[in-house]
């Protein structure tokens, strides 16, 4: 089993890019891999708590919760990217970590595979 790091950058919530990244993480976790997930740019919106579930918008909070429950999944929001968007510590969903960009670089260090989604 390996370690996959996924970085999602400047992704649109509302596009299906975050959905893609979360589904990829889910599939990897189910196969027994370990996944680190980095949120930068607009992808930090995924960390915002109290997202309402509507059928016209994608909703990933529950899947993330399940993934966190496996103990093989870490998800971290870029601190500055979040704060610039008003996503302060108290706005963040339970289980999300908040770090500077260096966390991502360190996560990559021993990742077997990296899927870096650097923009669209």
């Amino acid at each position: 089993m390996g370690k996959l790091t996924i970085g999602c950058f400047s992704s649109l919530v509302g596009s299906l890019t975050l959905d893609f990244a979360v589904k990829l993480a889910e599939a990897a976790i189910k196969k027994g891999h370990e996944v680190d997930f980095w949120l930068s740019g607009n992808a930090t919106m995924l960390a915002k708590k109290n997202q309402s579930k509507f059928r016209d918008y994608s909703h990933l909070a529950e899947t993330i919760k399940e993934l966190l429950g496996t103990g093989r999944f870490q998800i971290t929001m870029c601190e500055a990217c979040g704060k610039a968007r008003g996503i302060q510590e108290e706005d963040v969903m339970e289980g999300f970590q908040i770090y500077s960009m260096d966390w991502y670089l360190a996560s990559i260090y021993n990742a077997d595979r990296l899927v870096h989604i650097g923009g669209e």
Partner: protein, 97 residues
């Protein structure tokens, strides 16, 4: 280098002309799946004439209304599960273009 690239748009990334790899995989996801399914002016997408292995994500095909039988025979259809195996077993580096 075994290199896999994600193509997520229905437009050919220019950089494909220049990337060199011992083995090149082109993974069509999101709006990239139109390359595998739609002919424009009667022609299949030029991306399919490249020297590469082609894959398309079945979930993104189905989301857009395409069944697997609409997919060009050059393209292997896989799901998220298969994608994870592909990434871990068949390629070393992955770029999202």
């Amino acid at each position: 280098m075994k290199l896999a690239v994600f193509v997520h748009e229905y437009r050919e990334p220019e950089v494909l002309d220049r990337l060199k790899a011992e083995k090149l995989g082109i993974i069509l996801v999101q709006n990239g799946v139109y390359h595998a399914t739609v002919k424009k002016d009667g022609q299949p997408s030029p991306i399919l004439s490249r020297n590469a292995e082609f894959y398309a994500l079945s979930e993104d095909l189905a989301t857009r209304g395409f069944s697997d039988d609409k997919v060009d025979p050059k393209v292997k259809v896989l799901n998220y599960d298969g994608l994870v195996d592909l990434i871990f077993n068949d390629y070393e580096k992955i770029l999202w273009l």
